[in-house]
């Protein structure tokens, strides 16, 4: 018995010694204030990565302020496949930010508004999005260095960061071009569905004859392309969502309650809404005010405040006194630094859906990959351009099996403008942090965008529908009542196409690809942050999310947000160690 006890004690001691266990990190507190080296506001697609990277190996203590809960283990969040809760109206309002419901009426949409619901939970949009993984093209990222004015954001640095991010499982074109040692699982659909093979792929190839069909639309050498194998934010087993929360704030990094483990000096505050940054007279951020359970708290930042709040980053800057003079004046907020660019230059992708009737005799689900509802992807240049030109249009084909609500299987064809020139804005209306900001996407305010989208309908969509119609009639025609019929019957006239574009963009589903409202650029070129992501007019406030994009990524924006989170962390480690 004694020998057993001694053996057990030795084994336990050995496990504790070498097993990497550590007690959860406890946050420092002084007076009424929690304090840490760095406060990161927002645990979304970028924020989770920033929190992980800055707190690792105990190099900085980090307080993470997240407005939502940690729902990483919620089965609805873990589930893969067509997300039933993409809209707050589906009864999952608890996952979404309240208050951001509608934009201002937009002239480009004939006075309609747009739904701006965004994720309010750990992982942010990466915990509730449609799981489609896309890096964006070299042509687009090669602009980042010149617009930001910093080699921090050179194409080589950006591609290296994507590689560091990814654990990619799929086909490749260029050896070494994709990462396989990162924390984020990226899973390529391993098979091609019958509907794709027999209908969508041949129709796409016929409609877009100069566009190559490729094995990997995320390969840096690929610009415009057709790719029947979508890539997904899904774990290697194909059964669970991979978000920035599951990849970077999982149980090896923190407890479910948010205390760092294994050397991470991280302390998460869930269900806490940051409402203001407090500055000293030198423009140095000292504290962040946040509200939890209806009470106002303050947390002290000894070194820096990093905003990774997505659409709320520019709002929080304005509430803290950094923003346009008139907006601050109207809200009664004492200016810390007047910058007319804060909240401006916002970009988003306008999206239109056409719904087709699929053939029930054909299976649209790729064998062995029930999660893969996007069954074909197409990237196209401006009409008349070549396959190596910058991307202008994305077309995603999404298969919706027959179900209780939909008796016939459908294919939703979503096409969105990838390179908009139009700019929207986010402007606070008062100093009340819970009042919705006056915001809009600015869709089609630049005539070039409207012209590009009209041309896309007149040429690309017309050609695609033409090819689909001749393969298996009467299938793969638009469903009766689809607005595209008005355009078809009118012979794709300019007037009917313009009306169609304005009336149908962001009608059935809104795109939540808000970027660039805290643009990374020189101050006199519309910038809010510099190449180190530091906010102009401050010593130690940084922004690390999609809001700093010099130009909007020409693809879904979750992966670019993660790249920004990781790249910003690398920059911040260097800047803050100086």
């Amino acid at each position: 018995m004694k020998i057993k006890c001694i053996t057990l004690a030795l084994v336990t001691a050995t496990v504790n010694l070498f097993g990497g266990h550590s007690s959860p990190y406890r946050c420092e507190m002084s007076g009424n204030e929690l304090e840490a080296d760095i406060i990161v506001v927002g645990g979304g697609a970028a924020g989770c990565i920033v929190m992980n990277q800055l707190s690792e190996k105990g190099q900085f203590s980090v307080i993470g302020i997240e407005a939502g809960p940690n729902l990483t283990n919620d089965p609805a969040i873990q589930a893969v496949g067509l997300p039933a809760f993409l809209l707050a109206g589906t009864g999952k309002a608890k996952y979404f930010w309240p208050g951001w419901n509608q934009t201002l009426p937009m002239p480009g949409l004939n006075g309609r508004t747009s739904d701006w619901t965004t994720g309010m939970l750990l992982g942010g949009g990466s915990s509730i999005n449609g799981l489609y993984y896309g890096r964006g093209s070299n042509a687009m990222y090669s602009l980042w260095e010149s617009i930001s004015g910093s080699s921090n954001w050179s194409l080589a640095n950006i591609l290296a960061t994507f590689n560091a991010l990814e654990h990619y499982q799929g086909l490749t074109i260029t050896p070494g071009a994709r990462g396989n040692k990162g924390s984020l699982s990226v899973l390529q659909t391993p098979t091609i569905s019958q509907v794709t093979t027999q209908v969508l792929l041949p129709a796409s190839q016929a409609a877009f004859p100069g566009i190559p069909t490729v094995l990997d639309y995320n390969d840096p050498s690929v610009q415009n392309c057709i790719d029947p194998r979508a890539q997904w934010f899904i774990d290697p087993t194909g059964t669970q969502r991979a978000s920035s929360a599951t990849a970077y704030l999982n149980s090896t990094v923190m407890t479910p309650e948010g205390q760092g483990v294994n050397g991470h000096k991280l302390f998460m505050l869930f269900n806490s809404v940051a409402v203001k940054i407090i500055f000293d007279k030198h423009g140095r951020a000292k504290k962040v005010q946040y509200i939890k359970d209806g009470k106002l708290f303050e947390a002290r930042a000894k070194k820096a405040v990093v905003l990774a709040s997505g659409i709320n980053s520019s709002k929080l800057l304005q509430l803290s006194g950094i923003g346009p003079s008139q907006a601050l004046k109207n809200a009664g907020i004492k200016p810390v630094f007047i910058n007319e660019n804060v909240g401006k230059h916002l970009q988003n992708h306008p999206l239109i859906f056409i719904t087709l009737v699929a053939n029930p005799a054909e299976n649209g689900i790729p064998p062995g990959a029930p999660y893969a509802f996007t069954i074909n992807s197409v990237y196209l240049p401006v009409v008349g351009g070549s396959s190596s030109d910058p991307r202008m249009l994305q077309i995603l084909f999404e298969y919706i099996p027959a179900n209780a609500l939909v008796p016939t299987p459908l294919v939703a064809v979503g096409f969105d403008l990838l390179n908009p020139k139009s700019e929207g804005s986010v402007t606070i209306q008062s100093d009340n942090p819970f009042q919705i900001a006056a915001a809009d996407d600015g869709f089609y305010q630049n005539p070039v965008d409207l012209e590009n989208m009209k041309n896309a309908v007149k040429v690309y969509i017309r050609d695609l529908l033409t090819q689909l119609a001749i393969i298996e009639p009467p299938f793969y025609l638009p469903v009766p009542g689809d607005p595209i019929y008005g355009v078809i019957f009118d012979g794709f006239s300019d007037k009917s196409v313009e009306a169609y574009v304005k009336n149908n963009s962001n009608l059935s589903l809104d795109v939540h690809h808000f970027t660039s409202h805290c643009k990374m650029a020189p101050l006199n070129a519309g910038g809010v942050v510099d190449g180190d992501t530091r906010v102009y007019g401050t010593e130690n406030v940084f922004v690390a999310d999609d809001s700093i994009c010099p130009v909007i990524p020409d693809i879904n924006t979750a992966a670019p947000a993660m790249m920004i989170g990781l790249r910003s962390s690398q920059i911040l480690k260097r800047v803050l160690h100086k």
């Binding site: 959860p24 946050c27 420092e28 507190m29 002084s30 009424n32 929690l34 359970d293 708290f297």
Partner: protein
């Protein structure tokens, strides 16, 4: 209600300590006064330098600092002082005192509570003391010399506590003041034992009640003049 009861308990403890220590002190004083301080001995007031050490119990009242509320266990106080006495019983001294109380319970604003930790204070004080001239008032009592005093100074305070989520550390530096009263009894010609009570306030939050026994050594005392 709970705080009120704790204050009452603390007051009872103070009175009990005072009672026990006073009884002990008077018994010792009576016995030793006969042995050492008869009419031919040396116990006469004299201007002189002196050194004193003092040790005893410290009772720290409950605190409510902004939104963190704390209660404390009975702690200890240890002090040392150097002083000079003039005629008429006036003495001026420089004092260093260290007080420490373990925390009974502390509520951290928004982060739960803890039953662990401590609060400690280092005080640097200048005190003015006055030996009450009982003999000139005709009420001398066994060579027991009562005294009163007051002081001002500076406190360096530190509170530390923790629970499973946070580590609480806070330092304060405050001006402080104190009032004191006590009894001194000569046990040798150059040595006195004292029983003292001090009320000490550091900053606007911390109120200490200290009861202790001290030992005073008078330098250059003239034996058997």
């Amino acid at each position: 209600m709970k705080n009120h009861n704790e204050i009452i308990n603390m007051k009872k403890n103070i009175l009990l300590c005072l009672g026990i220590m006073s009884l002990f002190f008077f018994m010792a004083a009576e016995a030793q006064a006969e042995e050492w301080c008869d009419e031919d001995s040396c116990c006469v007031d004299e201007t002189t330098f002196y050194a004193k050490i003092l040790s005893g119990a410290n009772f720290l009242q409950n605190t409510a600092i902004e939104r963190n509320k704390s209660t404390y266990q009975t702690g200890y106080m240890i002090a040392g002082s150097l002083g000079y006495c003039w005629r008429y019983g006036l003495c001026l001294e420089a004092e260093y005192a260290f007080r420490r109380n373990n925390i009974r319970k502390i509520h951290f604003f928004g982060q739960g509570f803890s039953n662990h930790g401590h609060f400690q204070t280092s005080s640097y004080m200048a005190n003015l003391l006055w030996d009450l001239p009982l003999s000139s008032w005709g009420c001398a009592f066994w060579n027991i010399q009562p005294f009163i005093g007051a002081g001002i100074g500076y406190d360096l305070q530190h509170m530390h506590s923790s629970n499973s989520r946070i580590v609480f550390n806070q330092k304060w530096n405050h001006f402080s003041w104190q009032l004191m009263a006590g009894l001194a009894y000569p046990i040798f010609c150059n040595t006195e034992i004292t029983l003292e009570y001090k009320f000490h306030q550091g900053g606007c939050h911390f109120f200490n009640h200290s009861v202790g026994v001290g030992l005073v050594y008078k330098f250059g005392f003239d034996f058997l003049r």
